[in-house]
């Protein structure tokens, strides 16, 4: 590096990348086809990888590059490809069933982003400035992931909501300066484990119902209090 970068530039890039993740989370909310949703999820994984890599560079924490690599390889490539195959094999690349229409969902999403800014910014006023806004963005991504899990009835979209939530958590963990690597790797691992387990579930659901619509499960609740 010929000359040290101004701290403003470092913040701006970090915020740009983290902000992009929030934006992509909002984009996911209005995708109504599974293949498109999976592509947007892959895009978020790329944004996450870039964001984590930038944190690694700015904080001079080389171990974070590993986290960035895991994000781009597993979440940006392996998982989307696998999901695409699953969706194609199950023949569910039609409309996504949503429990709530797109308009109200987007409004709720914007509300959640506002909420996380209001909650996080005053609390983190004294912490490391690079981590501060990142944490607010990360909470937004987590909450939008929740929202996605709540408003979608389709099992594949719920999985994507869950993984997008984990993206937010990794963003937060990467933003916390010097947080031990143990945690980040285990987070990545648990996502993988979660994925395998969910895969097993989907397989079973498919086996029994010929559908992965979680609504189909609810039919069996009748008569049991």
């Amino acid at each position: 590096m010929p000359q040290p970068m101004s701290p403003h530039f470092v913040f701006d890039i970090a915020h740009l990348l983290a902000g992009a993740m929030v934006l992509i989370s909002l984009m996911m909310l209005y995708q109504d086809r599974l293949p498109a949703l999976i592509k947007v999820f892959a895009l978020q994984a790329v944004a996450l990888a870039a964001s984590v890599a930038w944190q690694a560079y700015a904080h001079d924490a080389p171990h974070l590059y590993v986290t960035a690599g895991i994000a781009i390889l597993f979440k940006g490539l392996v998982i989307p490809v696998a999901l695409h195959r699953m969706v194609a094999r199950l023949g569910i690349h039609r409309q996504v069933e949503t429990a709530l229409a797109t308009g109200p969902t987007m409004l709720a999403g914007i509300g959640l982003v506002g909420l996380s800014l209001v909650v996080m910014l005053p609390v983190t006023a004294t912490s490391d400035p690079l981590a501060r806004e990142d944490l607010a963005f990360a909470l937004s991504v987590v909450l939008l992931g929740f929202l996605m899990m709540v408003t979608r009835r389709n099992a594949v979209s719920q999985i994507i909501g869950f993984m997008s939530m984990e993206n937010g958590l990794i963003l937060a963990a990467a933003g916390a300066k010097g947080m031990p690597l143990v945690v980040e790797i285990s987070v990545a691992f648990s996502v993988l484990i979660a994925f395998i387990i969910l895969g097993v579930f989907l397989f079973r659901i498919r086996e029994r119902f010929d559908t992965v619509d979680v609504d189909a499960l609810d039919r069996f609740r009748g008569g049991r209090a």
């Binding site: 869950f162 143990v182 609810d218 049991r224």
Partner: protein, 482 residues
């Protein structure tokens, strides 16, 4: 001396899980399972005798040793019960040998996760362990592959992972609060380091962290309003899993909440964690108490009773003070022992009757006297009738609430109301189950009475007489909890 104990506690379940995943015969697999649990229990007892020094990863102190001993003991007795239980399930074709390999391996993974979470000094490792334990139970809840079981497992997984995500966010926030004071890296996650420096942490950040942690781990404890997964997960999985879920996993999650409560209590600027715990505890108690009346499924009935009792325990730790904390600890131990005993009995009852519907289970004391009366004793004990140990802890809790200064003592009213509501519901349901004309399904039952008798005997003995060293130990821990 101390190193082997820790190894027994952690390495045995880990190795046993790998071994059991490959073990060809389920019959001998069940006894390998029991053997592994015995070794882990021996490890826990070893820790009582000789305690290792705490390092960055391992911490054994007065608080978690109670949990560790209880945890490994109930895991052992449940493994014995499970051996008889699964033999019947294989006969009726509900479980296959391949299923059982997964079942036994996951049982040990669960045990490993819980033990690891309890002895871990690192908050990150604790989080990973609890997540691992949760995932293993998700697999076991879905084991029967019926639509209901898959739905229950899905719901459990979704709510559990939301809880777990919140807990991780809270853990990250704790690290953020610690980092300016403790410095970067490993130390910022080590509980025993944090607890000595927590006075200087930023209170606002710590408060926010605790809210996330309470909601996150509180989901796993089954506290209102995050309890929706619990009845389904208990009702649809194999009964030994209901016993370890109620008796153990809920306690481990509560233990995590207690660790963070201790941190917060030491920071002068942070909010008092007590009222939050008290509020959630009372709400769980009252809600579950009312819900008990409308249950039609025997395992769901006792699952709601677990929500009620976890609410009581959270309330006890929330109100604080040496007496209430003592009551909370005692209640936790008594609830674990009694509730798992009840599930042992219920497991055999459901097998012999071929149903879990309360309306189809009647007159047990006539058709199966031993099982029926054991269930009667267990349910009366959990409902809080003397001389059971649960009566003593509930009595202590109510009196210690009354002993608080004026506005706080009023909380004793909803507390007593909740206890009475739940008592009424349990006695009402019990009279139907135990007495009257027996329903079909009167074949003799091949039950394992050992675990059942041991648990109930311990509970009754504790209600009549608690050994002085045990009381002194609990009092010491209660003081630690503040």
């Amino acid at each position: 001396m101390s190193l082997p104990s820790i190894l027994l506690l952690l390495a045995t379940p880990a190795l046993a899980a790998a071994l059991l995943a490959l073990w060809p015969s389920w019959r001998s697999g069940a006894w390998v399972n029991v053997l592994a649990c015995t070794l882990a229990f021996a490890g826990a007892l070893g820790l009582v005798v000789h305690r290792p020094d705490s390092g960055p990863y391992i911490l054994v102190d007065d608080l978690n040793i109670v949990f560790i001993v209880l945890n490994t003991f109930v895991a052992l007795t449940t493994a014995v019960f499970s051996a008889t239980y699964i033999a019947h399930e294989v006969e009726t074709g509900r479980m296959t040998p391949a299923n059982l390999r997964v079942y036994h391996a996951m049982y040990q993974v669960l045990l490993f996760g819980m033990n690891m979470a309890l002895v871990s000094n690192n908050l990150g490792v604790m989080w990973v362990s609890i997540e691992g334990a949760t995932l293993s139970t998700v697999l076991m809840v879905g084991l029967y592959r019926t639509p209901e079981a898959i739905e229950a497992a899905w719901k459990y997984f979704m709510l559990g992972s939301v809880g777990i995500a919140m807990a991780l966010f809270g853990t990250i926030l704790v690290y953020m609060a610690a980092q300016p004071v403790v410095g970067e890296g490993q130390d910022g996650m080590v509980w025993s380091v944090l607890v000595t420096r927590v006075q200087a942490f930023d209170p606002a950040l710590l408060n926010l962290a605790f809210v996330f942690l309470l909601l996150g781990y509180g989901t796993k404890v089954g506290l209102f309003p995050l309890n929706a997964w619990l009845p389904d997960a208990h009702a649809e999985g194999p009964t030994p899993i209901s016993a370890v879920l109620s008796g153990l996993l809920l306690n481990v999650a509560l233990y995590a909440v207690l660790r963070f409560k201790l941190l917060l209590a030491l920071n002068p600027g942070a909010l008092a964690p007590g009222p939050l715990l008290m509020g959630m505890g009372l709400a769980s108690l009252l809600l579950a108490g009312v819900m008990l009346y409308r249950r039609r499924d025997i395992k769901r009935l006792f699952a709601y009773s677990s929500i009620e009792h976890m609410g009581l325990i959270a309330f006890a730790f929330g109100i604080g003070g040496p007496l209430a904390n003592f009551a909370g600890l005692l209640h936790m131990v008594m609830h674990s022992l009694t509730k798992s005993a009840i599930f042992f009995a219920v497991g055999h009852v459901a097998q012999v009757k071929g149903t879990q519907k309360l309306s189809e289970i009647r007159g047990l004391t006539t058709s199966h006297p031993a099982l029926g009366w054991a269930l009667v004793i267990g349910v009366l004990a959990i409902a809080g009738l003397p001389p059971g140990g649960v009566f003593m802890s509930e009595f202590l809790l109510v009196t210690s609430t009354f002993a608080k200064p004026f506005p706080l003592m009023l909380l004793a009213l909803p507390l007593v109301a909740g206890l009475l509501i739940a008592f009424g519901a349990l006695v009402l349901k019990l009279s139907g189950i135990a007495f009257g004309e027996p329903t079909p399904g009167t074949a003799p039952v091949k039950a394992s009475y050992g675990p059942l008798v041991v648990h109930l005997a311990l509970v009754l003995a504790a209600g009549l007489y608690l050994p002085a060293p045990l009381v002194a130990w609990f009092q010491h821990v209660a003081k630690l909890l503040g």
